[in-house]
C-alpha cells in the first residue's frame, strides 16, 4: 500500500535509465524527503535508508495519458483517490483523466474541481476537458478557460465528434491554446451498434459486428483535418491495421499527428470473447492477430507514439449484464506495464523501449518536457524488474472496480515500486 518516506533514501546499484536521452548509467539515486538530491555517484548521509536495486531499472514514473476515474458522478466505479492508488501501484506518477464523467468536465469550474480535489493525492492528475458541451458533439466548450484552469487537452472520449465541421472548429481553435485534440475515432454509423470486431467470429457468436472501417474512416477524416488545419490531433486507442497504415502515411507526409495504443489491443485478441466475457468488451473492440501485429509494428517504427491504458472501471453489476447491454471498457492501470512489456519483449522490443512508450512518448504527445531525476525536483520514479514473472490476480487490483480480463495472465516484467515525492508504493521499499 501507499506509505510515506521521511529522511534520506538511497536507491543503489540499479541501472538508471533516462528515456528522453536514451541513456543508461549504473549508479545510485539519493532522495531526501522525496526530493532528488544526487544521481550517479552519491555521497549519502550516515542515516540513509539503502535500497538495493541490483538487476532493476530505475526509470521515470510512468505516464498514462488516457484513464477514466469516474468522479464526479460514478464514484461507485472509481474515485480520484482509488484511481490514483491504482495508477500508483502500476508504476504511474502522472495520469490524464478523461472528461466523460457525470456531469462531464466541460467547464473551467469542473476542471478546477478535479485540480483541487487531486492536489493532495500521491500522483499528479491532469484533467482533460470536453471538446463539446455535455459531450453532445455540437457546441465547442470554453477551451481557453479550461486550459487556464488546468486542462491539458480536450476530448469527448467515449463518443466521437461525429460532425466534421465541429471537429474542424475545435482543432483550429485549440491551436490558440497549444493543446492536443483527442477524438475517439469511430464513425457511429459504420459502428452500427456493433459490440465486437466484425469478423467470422462475430458471425459465429451472433454478436453485432463493429467493423475496422468504423475506426479507419474516422481516423482518415481526422488526418485530413490535421493536415488541412495544421492543428494538433491525437488519436487514442488505435485498434486496427487499417488505421495504423493511414497514420503512417500522414506521418510520413509530415502531418502533426500523434497516436496511442492500449496494452489490451496489443495483448489480447477478439477470441477472448468466445465465452461472451463482458470484461473483454471494449471500445474500440479487441481485433484480429493481423491488427495486433500491425499495432506492435506501428509502435516499433514510430507510427504510434505511446502506450495509454484507457483504464475504464465498471461495477460488477454492469459487467454481469447481458453482452449487448453491458458497458464497454476494462481497467488497465495495474496490469499495463506487465502486459505491454510481456507482449512487446516477445515481439522483439527492449525493456527500455517499453519504458520510453510509457514515459517520454506519452509526455511528447502532451507537449511536456520531461527532466527525469532533475536535481532539486520531487522524485517521480518507477523501479522496474524486467525479469520477474508473475501472475496477475485480483489481489493486484487497487481500483474500486475489478473488470479486468487480464486476471490469471502470466506477465514478465513488473514495476516493483513507485515513488512520487514523499509517497512510495511497493514491496521493494518496505
Amino acid at each position: 500500500m501507499i506509505s510515506t518516506i521521511k529522511g534520506s533514501i538511497l536507491l543503489e546499484n540499479g541501472s538508471i535509465y533516462d528515456p528522453c536521452k536514451n541513456k543508461k548509467i549504473k549508479g545510485s539515486v539519493l532522495l531526501n524527503n522525496g526530493i532528488v538530491k544526487e544521481v550517479g555517484k552519491c555521497s549519502p548521509p550516515k542515516n540513509v535508508k539503502r535500497v538495493n536495486c541490483q538487476g532493476k531499472i530505475v526509470a521515470p514514473g510512468l505516464i498514462d495519458i488516457h484513464a477514466h476515474f469516474r468522479e464526479p458522478g460514478r464514484e461507485d466505479k472509481e474515485t480520484l483517490v482509488t484511481g490514483a492508488t491504482a495508477a500508483f501501484s502500476g508504476g504511474f506518477t502522472r495520469v490524464c483523466i478523461m472528461p466523460n464523467t457525470n456531469p462531464p468536465l466541460d467547464t473551467p469550474e469542473s476542471i478546477r474541481f478535479i485540480v483541487e480535489k487531486s492536489a493532495d493525492l500521491p500522483i499528479h492528475i491532469f484533467p482533460i476537458g470536453a471538446i463539446t458541451r455535455r459531450q453532445a458533439g455540437l457546441e465547442i466548450t470554453e477551451i481557453g478557460e479550461m486550459v487556464q484552469a488546468g486542462a491539458v487537452a480536450i476530448s469527448d472520449d467515449g463518443v466521437p465528434v461525429q460532425n466534421g465541421q465541429v471537429m474542424r472548429y475545435a482543432v483550429e481553435y485549440a491551436q490558440r491554446f497549444n493543446i492536443p485534440v483527442i477524438n475517439h475515432a469511430e464513425d457511429i454509423y459504420l459502428l452500427n451498434d456493433g459490440v465486437m470486431n466484425e469478423s467470422a467470429l462475430s458471425t459465429q457468436l451472433g454478436l453485432p459486428g463493429n467493423p475496422d472501417i468504423a475506426e479507419s474512416v474516422m481516423v482518415y477524416r481526422d488526418l485530413e483535418i490535421a493536415e488541412f488545419t495544421n492543428g494538433r490531433i491525437h488519436i487514442p486507442h488505435v485498434s486496427s491495421s487499417r488505421s495504423v497504415n493511414l497514420i503512417r502515411q500522414y506521418k510520413n507526409k509530415g502531418v502533426q499527428i500523434t497516436a496511442e495504443v492500449t496494452p489490451h489491443h496489443i495483448g489480447l485478441l477478439e477470441t477472448k470473447l468466445t465465452q461472451y466475457d463482458t470484461n473483454a468488451k471494449v471500445a474500440p473492440p479487441l481485433r484480429s492477430e493481423k491488427d495486433r501485429e500491425a499495432l506492435i509494428d506501428g509502435l516499433i517504427d514510430g507510427t504510434i507514439d505511446c502506450i495509454a491504458t484507457d483504464h475504464a472501471p465498471h461495477t460488477i453489476e454492469d459487467k454481469e449484464m447481458d453482452f449487448i447491454h453491458s458497458p464497454c471498457g476494462m481497467i488497465g492501470l495495474e496490469s499495463a506495464f506487465g502486459l505491454a512489456h510481456t507482449v512487446l519483449i516477445e515481439a522483439g522490443a527492449t525493456t527500455e523501449q517499453v519504458i520510453g512508450w510509457m514515459t517520454d512518448g506519452a509526455a511528447r504527445v502532451m507537449g511536456w518536457e520531461l527532466t527525469p531525476l532533475g536535481i532539486g525536483s520531487p522524485a517521480e520514479i518507477s523501479i522496474i524488474d524486467p525479469l520477474e514473472e508473475w501472475e496477475f490476480t485480483k489481489d493486484h487490483i487497487q481500483s474500486r472496480s475489478k473488470n479486468s480480463p487480464m486476471i490469471g495472465m502470466i506477465f514478465k516484467g513488473r514495476v516493483v515500486s513507485t515513488i512520487s515525492g514523499k509517497y512510495v508504493f511497493g514491496k521493494h521499499l518496505d
Binding site: 458471425t203 453485432p208 447481458d322 453482452f323
Partner: protein, 312 residues
C-alpha cells in the same frame, strides 16, 4: 437410454452429429405419440421446467409448452417483455430468484447473444436455448432438419438454400451449424448487405441470384423478413424485395422443377413468399410445426429423462 455428450442445448455449434441424429431420430418416435388419441406420456413426471421468454414469441413458446406438458412435466411460464424488466436489468437476479425455487430445466429466449451461456454461470439447471438474439435457435434448426429428413430420407448431400435476411437470423446460423455437420450442402441467398462478410469461412456457398439458387436447391428455407426493416434504408421496398428475392408464384412456375419450401414462421404473406406457395403442395411448413413439438419432446426427454424406459 442413449446418452448425450452435452448437459445443455445452447446451440448446434458445439453439438456433434451423433447427438443431432439422436435428437432427430427420437423426434420421429415422439411423432408417433402425437398421432395417438391420448398424446401424453409420463416420461418427465415430477420435473419442473420454466419457460423464460424475454422476447416476444408465440409459436416457439407454445410448442415448448405443449412438448413439456405431453411429457407430463410441470411447467411455469415467465414472460418478461410484459413485466417491468428494464433494458439490461439484472438477468442474473431474476433467474437466480426463480432458480432458488429448485428448477430442473430452464428454456430461455433472450435478445442478447450468448445469454444462455452466461446463464449457465449462475444456475446449475439444464438450459435449453429457445433463441438468443442473432446467435442460435437450435430447436428450430433441429425441427428443420427433422422435416428435411422426413422429406428426403437423409440429410447428407441434400442441397438446402437459406433465403432472406441472413445477418440478423439465428435460424440461419443454427441451420448452417447443423446442416454442415450432417453433410448437407448449404447455399445462402438474399440481399448482399444482409449476408455476413466472411461467412464462406463457415463452409457455405453464397449466390444472390434467386433464380440460380432455385435451380440448384432441393429445398429452400425462406426466412421471415422483418417488416421493421422495411423503409429504414435497409430493404428499399416490398415490391423490390419480391422482385429480386421473393418466392412468388410466377417465379416458381418458371422453374420446371420440384422444390421443397420451408419457412420458420411467422410468414409475411406476399412479402418473402406468396400465399399460394406457402399453402401449396411444395410447402412443408405445417409439417415443420408438428415436427417442432416432436423434436422438442425429444430434446427435453433426452436432456431431462431418467434411466427408466421411455413409456410409449
Amino acid at each position: 437410454m442413449p446418452t448425450l455428450r452435452n448437459k445443455h442445448l445452447m446451440g448446434l455449434e458445439h453439438i456433434d452429429s451423433d447427438d443431432i441424429q439422436l435428437f432427430i431420430d427420437t423426434g420421429f418416435t415422439f411423432r408417433e405419440v402425437l398421432d395417438r388419441p391420448i398424446k401424453k406420456v409420463p416420461s418427465l413426471t415430477g420435473k419442473n421446467i420454466v419457460n423464460f421468454f424475454f422476447e416476444n414469441s408465440t409459436r416457439t413458446r407454445i410448442s415448448f409448452e405443449l412438448a413439456e406438458k405431453r411429457l407430463s412435466a410441470d411447467v411455469t411460464n415467465f414472460s418478461a417483455t410484459l413485466s417491468s424488466l428494464n433494458k439490461g436489468e439484472g438477468l442474473k437476479d431474476t433467474i437466480q430468484n426463480i432458480h432458488a425455487m429448485k428448477i430442473d430445466c430452464i428454456v430461455m429466449r433472450h435478445p442478447s447473444p450468448g445469454s444462455c451461456l452466461q446463464l449457465s454461470n449462475y444456475v446449475d439447471s439444464i438450459i435449453i436455448n429457445a433463441g438468443d438474439g442473432m446467435h442460435e435457435h437450435p430447436t428450430q434448426a433441429l425441427l428443420d432438419m427433422m422435416s428435411l429428413q422426413e422429406k428426403f430420407g437423409r440429410l447428407k448431400g441434400v442441397k438446402i438454400a437459406i433465403l432472406g435476411d441472413i445477418i440478423h437470423s439465428r435460424v440461419a446460423l443454427s441451420n448452417i451449424f447443423g446442416l454442415n455437420k450432417m453433410g448437407a450442402e448449404v447455399m445462402l441467398c438474399g440481399p448482399p448487405h444482409l449476408i455476413p462478410r466472411n461467412i464462406e469461412e463457415m463452409g457455405v456457398k453464397i449466390n444472390t441470384d434467386i433464380d440460380e439458387v432455385i435451380e440448384w436447391a432441393d429445398a429452400i428455407n425462406v426466412l421471415r423478413i422483418q417488416r421493421e426493416r422495411m423503409g429504414l434504408g435497409i430493404i428499399p421496398s416490398i415490391r423490390e424485395y419480391r422482385n429480386y428475392f421473393g418466392i412468388t408464384q410466377e417465379r416458381l412456375a418458371n422453374h420446371k422443377k420440384e422444390i421443397v419450401i420451408m419457412h420458420p414462421g411467422p410468414i409475411n404473406r406476399g412479402v418473402e413468399i406468396d400465399s399460394s406457395i406457402a399453402d401449396g403442395e411444395q410447402a412443408i411448413i405445417l409439417d415443420q410445426v408438428l415436427n417442432g413439438v416432436a423434436v422438442r419432446m425429444s430434446i427435453l426427454y433426452l436432456l431431462l429423462g431418467t434411466e427408466e424406459e421411455m413409456s410409449t
